[in-house]
């Protein structure tokens, strides 16, 4: 899976690249409009992550040119511009998702995964992790071929975990993923705890191993110990 990260802030580009590389993607970086334009002309990418304000040009322009050349590339916009008009424009020119800075890398990763799932299999896809299987179209979860009924938020939580295997997820990023970034009260963190407790119980009941580990002071990690 080949990806291009178009971001002029060097440190941020490096972080994104490092994070996504760990997920097994081959990532390249471009810091300016020209550089990105050149790379997109020379190579094919499965997914690009674009900042809108770039030295030398507008990210939207870049997306438009890319869409004309290769329509199959997945596009995620990351921007400090939060205006609805920008979002709408971004989606109009053909981007698949829009993330406002600052964002959680785990959230970006989840969006990339979801985008790739949609791209590759048109949404008809199953995610497998050992004995757990998720049908993302019907939103059904199976443990050892036995269906386990999850609430909407528990399902979202599981999918978020499955997109970020072996990654330490902060409680805040989980809360924001589940309820949007306006949930900022201390309660939401307790809610995260109770949702995780329920999810873990439901999975274990059906015979799954316990994959959810809490990391002291930070949050949770999903994966084999």
């Amino acid at each position: 899976m080949k990806m291009l990260v178009v971001e002029d802030e060097q440190g941020l580009a490096e972080s994104i690249t490092a994070y996504l590389s760990k997920e097994g993607y081959r990532c390249e970086m471009a810091a300016t409009y020209q550089e990105a334009d050149e790379k997109l002309y020379l190579y094919e990418y499965d997914c690009i992550i674009v900042d809108l304000t770039l030295p030398g040009g507008d990210g939207l322009q870049l997306i438009e040119t890319l869409k004309k050349r290769s329509a199959s590339t997945g596009i995620i916009i990351i921007s400090a511009r939060n205006a609805l008009e920008d979002r709408i424009k971004g989606l109009e020119v053909g981007s698949d998702d829009y993330l406002t800075k600052p964002f959680h890398l785990s959230e970006l990763n989840a969006r990339v995964k979801s985008l790739i799932r949609r791209r590759n299999f048109g949404g008809h896809n199953e995610i497998h992790y050992h004995e757990i299987a998720v049908q993302s179209l019907s939103r059904k979860v199976f443990v050892k071929d036995q269906e386990t009924v999850l609430s909407r938020k528990e399902y979202d939580l599981l999918l978020y975990f499955l997109s970020n295997i072996d990654v330490a997820l902060t409680k805040v990023s989980i809360a924001e993923h589940l309820w949007g970034d306006h949930v900022d009260s201390a309660d939401s963190l307790d809610m995260v705890y109770s949702h995780i407790k329920n999810l873990r119980r439901k999975l274990i009941e059906k015979g799954s191993r316990d994959y959810i580990r809490s990391i002291y002071g930070i949050g949770y990690k999903f994966g084999e110990a």
Binding site: G11, N82, T100, P102, S173, S194
Partner: protein, 420 residues
């Protein structure tokens, strides 16, 4: 009271009193002059009379003009002083009483003491006084009216640049970002006034724009470094070799940067609302949206064991840009949730002209009037940045809505209604 009205009133009051004093004064002077004249003539006549009786003898028919002279034998009283006095005497023909000035003195005629009264008719003099006084009064009155009218017109014209300036200042609105344009009047004082106001308003406008721009730019430019901090911290926490202390520090950094970014987004949103950067207003059923949002927050509601009651009698619709409607609702709902108590209550009551959201909660620590101020936090929850209700207020102020806060027995209610 307007300035012109005030000066005119003072002017009028002053000139009328001056006019009355002058009229009385003039009447007095003319009267005195005429009396003086009449009296000196009487004295002359007295001398003529004395000369006459010295040379000739006095007979009753010596002088035939009626009432002109009266000679009677009489004894001169003690302490007699020769005096003038006004008297009324009946006219022989018209039977009218006519005014006379009379000089009385005693003189011996043919060795007998006589009282002599010589008189002069005042009827002509009185008429003269009347005519002169009337004419003068008329002239003065005309003069007074004339100057009053002139003064009125003149000050109206002279002060006109001032009123012009005033009306332009009144219409000056910072938010429109248009410079205040003032004329250049001829009068130096007004010219200076205009120049000073012009300079001040230019400076204010400039500062205002700079400040807005700064807030917006600063907030915007901060987003990227914040994204960087977040990303690096997230990478850092993936490391397995962190000690407990390090984890704690990282967590603190992470939370602080998150809070900062929330703060930042809030400020940016406020700046944009003020700048009216949101377009495409749409008619939105706010009651329905609010209801959906409340149901969306189901988990939080359940978690805090909050009872939700919704009375949707008739929909409350507003015209708002969708993104702001979303922000309005989100902020109201999270406010109602954040300040709620475990086992509390949230009530939504929707009428055609009012939309009220009530929640149970602690008694306010601040004044209710400060509730909508920026960075006023209740309950000291550090996760909140204290901008939510300011955003709500700002949206309402900019899009013709009114928001009211009331508290009855621990039930805090926010009501939206269409502004006047």
């Amino acid at each position: 009271m307007r300035l012109l009205e005030k000066t005119n009133r003072i002017y009028l009051l002053f000139s009328v009193s001056l006019y009355i004093v002058a009229a009385f004064g003039m009447y007095g002077i003319i009267k005195w002059l005429i009396y003086d004249e009449v009296e000196s003539r009487l004295l002359v006549e007295k001398r003529d009379f004395l000369v006459y009786i010295h040379h000739y003898d006095w007979k009753q028919d010596s002088y035939f003009v009626e009432n002109k002279i009266e000679v009677e034998p009489a004894r001169k009283p003690a302490h007699f002083k020769e005096t003038f006095k006004d008297t009324l005497i009946q006219d022989r023909y018209s039977q009218k009483m006519l005014p006379f000035r009379q000089l009385t003195f005693y003189v011996p005629i043919q060795d007998m003491e006589h009282r002599v009264a010589i008189r002069k008719s005042m009827i002509q003099s009185y008429r003269l006084i009347e005519v002169i006084t009337f004419t003068m009064a008329l002239m003065l009155g005309l003069l007074l009216l004339g100057t009053y009218w002139f003064q009125n017109r003149l000050s109206g014209r002279i002060w006109q640049p001032f009123y012009e300036t005033l009306s332009r200042i009144k219409n000056f609105d910072l938010a429109q970002k248009q410079k205040l344009q003032l004329p250049q009047p001829e009068i130096i004082e007004f010219k200076e006034l205009n120049e000073v106001i012009q300079r001040m308003s230019d400076k204010i406008l400039q500062d205002y724009l700079n400040l807005k721009e700064f807030t917006e730019n600063a907030s915007h430019e901060l987003q990227t470094p914040l994204a960087l901090i977040n990303a690096k911290v997230e990478q850092l926490i993936q490391s397995e070799q962190l000690t407990e202390n390090q984890t704690h520090w990282i967590q603190t950094i992470y939370e602080a940067s998150l809070r900062m970014s929330r703060l930042n987004q809030g400020l940016l949103l406020l700046a944009k609302i003020e700048n009216r950067q949101f377009i495409n207003e749409q008619v939105i059923n706010l009651s329905e949206e609010l209801q959906e949002k409340l149901l969306d927050m189901e988990e939080v509601v359940q978690y805090k064991q909050i009872t939700l009651s919704i009375h949707n009698e008739s929909p409350f619709t507003v015209s708002l840009p969708p993104v702001l409607a979303e922000s309005l609702i989100t902020n109201l709902v999270s406010n109602a949730l954040r300040h709620n108590v475990t086992g509390g209550e949230i009530r939504l009551h929707s009428l055609a002209d009012r939309l009220c959201l009530s929640n149970t909660g602690q008694i306010l620590q601040h004044q209710p009037s400060e509730l909508f101020s920026r960075f006023k936090k209740e309950g000291g929850s550090s996760e909140s940045v204290g901008l939510g209700l300011s955003i709500v207020k700002e949206i309402c102020d900019n899009y013709g809505l009114q928001i009211q806060y009331t508290e009855i027995n621990g039930m805090h209610t926010f009501c939206l209604s269409q502004g006047s």
